[in-house]
């Protein structure tokens, strides 16, 4: 019996160990080439370390040898889902530096296009959110509606995704004669389609169980980690630049900044859904009042910015997008820095996902609405 006792295993002898899992660079839920080094104990996430750079394209370096109108075209390729907002940021930054005021028509059209981009972006986010949670049908519901916005883009500027519509001094082209009619038809239709989103996903018991009370981000942490956009507004951080530092035609419209003080995954979900309603409100206020006038100002062939530093912040679909141009008076910028919302948002993920399960990590990441080229630049 004595020998037997020696080999008997007690619970103290059973050792559990953490293990590492590479989520990505090719993984269905990272939506691109993002690699998360996840430290797990069983199903529990202990640490998440994001590794990026798989599609780093050196846009900031490239801009140093390009002229200002050319820079705008590169910004499309960063956050391709809010391409118009990125274009607009560069255009606004250059216009501010040159101290020129674009016509009202340009401002109105830019705002409408930006809100359409936001709608399209949030629609795609909703598709993917459902898919990450395992409800694959949402993907096709969202894409069905997004297609109509892309059709409007195509009619307006010939491109569906990388629109290249805003250039310093105005717009690339004037709007198509059908633009107003199509946008109004779309808004009318989407107002009946958006409640479908709620019926399919928001009210589902499994969905609410999976998201409510999961992955808290407090307001203080949101500010400290520089989290912006709907992700931060769900934590109560009032960071909507459209409201607080209006640019283009945002000062002329009435809309609510969607805020929630809960800060969990469900709040982030709801904030985006509500933002879609607000975007439709904004478009409806502007679409009938587009003033007559030029769609672009006469600009010099070669745009040279005065020496100095210029910063422009806009609210993209994912959060605060900043363009920081340092000019030495030449036709190329000395240094351009893009403050991308995804970059700051991504690195808050370790703080939020710690202690939750793998499935929650996927849900949390989904509500962050990451676009990888936006992070990698």
């Amino acid at each position: 019996m004595a020998e037997l006792k020696e080999v008997m295993i007690t619970t103290d002898d059973i050792k559990t160990d953490e293990y590492l899992v590479n989520m990505g660079p090719q993984h269905p839920s990272t939506h691109g080439v993002l690699r998360l080094l996840v430290q797990l104990e069983g199903e529990i996430v202990h640490n998440v370390q994001p590794h990026i750079g798989y599609i780093h394209s050196g846009i900031e370096k490239m801009t140093e040898s390009l002229s200002y109108p050319q820079i705008g075209h590169l910004t499309d390729r960063m956050d391709y889902l809010s391409a118009h907002m990125n274009n607009e940021a560069v255009a606004l930054c250059v216009e501010n530096a040159l101290q020129i005021e674009v016509p009202d028509r340009v401002k109105y059209i830019r705002t409408i296009m930006a809100e359409l981009s936001r709608l399209a972006s949030h629609q795609l986010w909703w598709c993917v959110m459902g898919m990450d949670m395992g409800a694959l049908t949402t993907f096709f519901y969202g894409l069905r509606d997004r297609e109509e916005i892309l059709d409007i883009f195509e009619e307006t500027c010939g491109a569906r995704l990388t629109v290249n519509y805003s250039i310093p001094g105005g717009l690339m082209f004037d709007i198509h004669p059908n633009f107003q009619r199509d946008v109004k038809a779309f808004i009318k239709k989407f107002r009946t389609k958006l409640p479908e989103y709620d019926r399919l996903l928001s009210g589902n018991v499994i969905f609410t169980e999976r998201t409510k009370g999961v992955g808290f981000l407090s307001r203080e942490d949101a500010i400290a980690y520089g989290v912006t956009g709907p992700t931060a507004r769900a934590s109560g951080f009032a960071c909507d630049l459209r409201k607080h530092q209006p640019y283009s035609a945002y000062s002329k419209v009435n809309f609510n900044e969607v805020l929630s003080d809960v800060g969990d995954t469900y709040a982030r979900y709801q904030v985006r859904i509500q933002e879609m309603w607000e975007s439709m409100n904004i478009i409806e206020q502007l679409i009938d009042n587009i003033p007559e006038g030029d769609y672009a100002m006469k600009m010099k062939g070669v745009i040279k910015l005065p020496e100095g530093e210029f910063y422009q912040r806009v609210e993209s679909a994912r959060g605060e997008f900043g363009v920081f141009i340092v000019s030495d008076g030449k036709k190329n910028p000395y240094r351009v820095k893009f403050r991308s919302p995804g970059f700051s948002n991504l690195f808050a993920i370790n703080h939020i996902a710690k202690g939750w399960k793998i499935a929650d990590l996927v849900a949390i990441m989904s509500t962050f609405d990451l676009v990888i080229p936006d992070i990698d630049r």
Binding site: E60, A224, Y225, G322, F324, R339, S344, F347
Partner: protein, 151 residues
Amino acid sequence: MTNEELITAIGKVEAEAETRQGAQYVETTVPAARMYDFMNQLKQDKTLAFDYLFCLTGMDQADHMQVVYHLESVLHKHVLVVRVKTADRENPVLDSVSDIWPTAEFHENEVYDLLGIRFNNHPDLRRLFLDENWGFPLRKDFKDDIHIVSR
């Protein structure tokens, strides 16, 4: 707080800071040696309360490196641009502010990756985008015969 008041308030925090009204925001330049305490004060001071670091940019300025911090106070809504210059261009070193603003940790990683500025007391200084054997591409003297075509 108006911009004039902000300038005087910053002068009280740090005597060596050169503060002026820029084209857009209030801008201040602090010596690298004093920067950590200064930044800490900006965050802790109740009247300043710069709690939101929204942009951190590294720059190659020919004879030195420079890091620009864009700070905002969510409560007071004022914005401050802080500039810090490094003494050495080839082996630039600055203090990390990642324990003041956690978001700085990753922006500093990016600056280190692209410009080679090292940050003291940084919890995990690693190259974010590029391989270890790459140079620092945002430096003006960076040469890459394969990937960069110079005109």
